[in-house]
Symmetry: C2
Subunit: 341 residues, 2 copies
Amino acid sequence: MITIKELARKLNLSTTTVSNVIHGKTHEVSVSTIERVEKALEEYDYVPNINARNLAQNKSKIIGLAMKPRADKSSNIFKDPFISEVIGGIEKTVREAGYFMMIYASDDMNELLKQVSTWNVDGLLLFGLLGEDGAAVRRKYKKPVVCIDIYNMVCDPPVYSVGLEDEAGAYKAVRYLTDLGHRKIAFLSDDIIGVDRERFRGYKKALNDAGIEYKDDNYLKLNPWEEEIEQSLSDICRKSQNFSAVFCTSDLYAVQLTAKLFDSGIRVPEDISVIGFDDNALSKYHRPGITTVHQDMEKKGIVAAETLIRLLKGLEVEKSMNQLATNLVIRDSVKDLRETE
Amino acid sequence: MITIKELARKLNLSTTTVSNVIHGKTHEVSVSTIERVEKALEEYDYVPNINARNLAQNKSKIIGLAMKPRADKSSNIFKDPFISEVIGGIEKTVREAGYFMMIYASDDMNELLKQVSTWNVDGLLLFGLLGEDGAAVRRKYKKPVVCIDIYNMVCDPPVYSVGLEDEAGAYKAVRYLTDLGHRKIAFLSDDIIGVDRERFRGYKKALNDAGIEYKDDNYLKLNPWEEEIEQSLSDICRKSQNFSAVFCTSDLYAVQLTAKLFDSGIRVPEDISVIGFDDNALSKYHRPGITTVHQDMEKKGIVAAETLIRLLKGLEVEKSMNQLATNLVIRDSVKDLRETE
DNA sequence: TTGTACGCGTTATCAA
DNA sequence: TTGATAACGCGTACAA
């Protein structure tokens, strides 16, 4: 690792001149020395020491990606197979913009904030946190922040956020069910917080528009922890007898339910209809194909990273809340009840 | 962000003393000052500046995770849903050991090496690269390196590697098929390099042990690119008529094939048997459940990161090549041909 | 057009 | 037990 100083000595120049050439401040340097320096840079394979640069400029070119692991300690957030598409989108965008990415997956927001401040992280991407955690981070961290899938976060300075039209997406799905004559429609999720709350809204709205009353029994709560999921799915299978369709808040849950139903001799869609959310490989390659709400995970990551980078560059960002579109992907897991008329 | 210097001035101490307290060199400091300093540290919420520390110590506490994106430009490596489990395992281990993780997913090994050297990365994890790329990195980078799923990499200084008993895993699967009376068994993969080459070996060995001759027609090459996969799968469906079973090198491929067969009216396992590799959610929740070879992705990441950290600490590492175990998970996608006797 | 000198925050050496 | 000071590599204001 050769340094600027050594290079300057070898060339009989000052560090300033070498530095100027490196930074393209060519109008202050003679053509001949530029060439000499550039050749040497190449020859000695000069690479700047980022620590020194960051120290001198009080910057870091690091974008932190903070995500909270699920409450289930033994597991980790990366267990969700489609998280990686978001990460991939972020990584690509960040790299192409000349930044670096550091991932934090700690449970402990204080720990996170410490690391962020030690590294002097230029900007933060918050992913999958809840509003309170986000606000807690915001209170201490004053540089640009972009949230992914976090709603209702009011704080100062403001944060930008990228999400999905979750409510509209769920509405489309449930509306599709009611249009096909379904009236007993369950809502399946592990909880009704974050994005699921939005989706729950869309679900209720669609019911309402179809003149269907929502009852508390309509909510099927899945316990996704490894040890309990089988039992939980069994319970849900039993309860699902009361419904003609189940709207699930993820493809994973839709597929898990469908498999369990299959094992209990209940057929999808003949005996019960199932609809998912995400449109990933799970729903696509299941048979019957699972009808689902499409979302572009990678794009979510890209848009979030792009927004953050615009902010870092001091550019304008149009909307503080960017909601990506969804669309319904119709496959074979929903029965048309009107046929039976 | 308060600095040591400011803290020292506030306490009427030297930076040395404060630094000593921070680093627990208490035997050189009086008890009373220790207490004063610790209180101030707490009160002012002191956080060290890593850039300055790294600069002074010529270390970074960063572990680089380098992975090469697939050749398919439009895609990115994170599209493989189960990559994230490996990343998760690494992240957890790295964080708990007090290190940080930086992800590089560039295609360009020179670019990678530049970044690694700018950041002064302490150790490198190579994931999903081919042998040549690994060796190229090794030639320039002399600190500890641990490879994941890279075979036949001889270089100096040596690298450690973590992989799977791929050959044995494939052998188990194909042996299971032959034991059940299958004799026309195809091998499906996108290529025969890296881990797939090992699996191909296991496949051939099992054929051989069962007295079955391998013919080139047995190899079904899948073109997994987005635009061509459907066509490729159709071709393979046609060819698969000649076989009683297909061994696929991933659950994804197994599921894709099964779905395509289903759409063509060919039933699994009644008309043809399918077996996968990975044991992820795809095979688990498909119906029929796909018989597959189990591997623990997260553990792969954990073991690799642990190995690297031992190396960084100067501890002994027993084996230079760690091959994780596999086991066959029997589900419902393979037919017992002996029944028909 | 080029060079000198200092500061960034930390650690480490050595002297007091 | 404590303090002064140099060093790490880079960028930059200012001087020449």
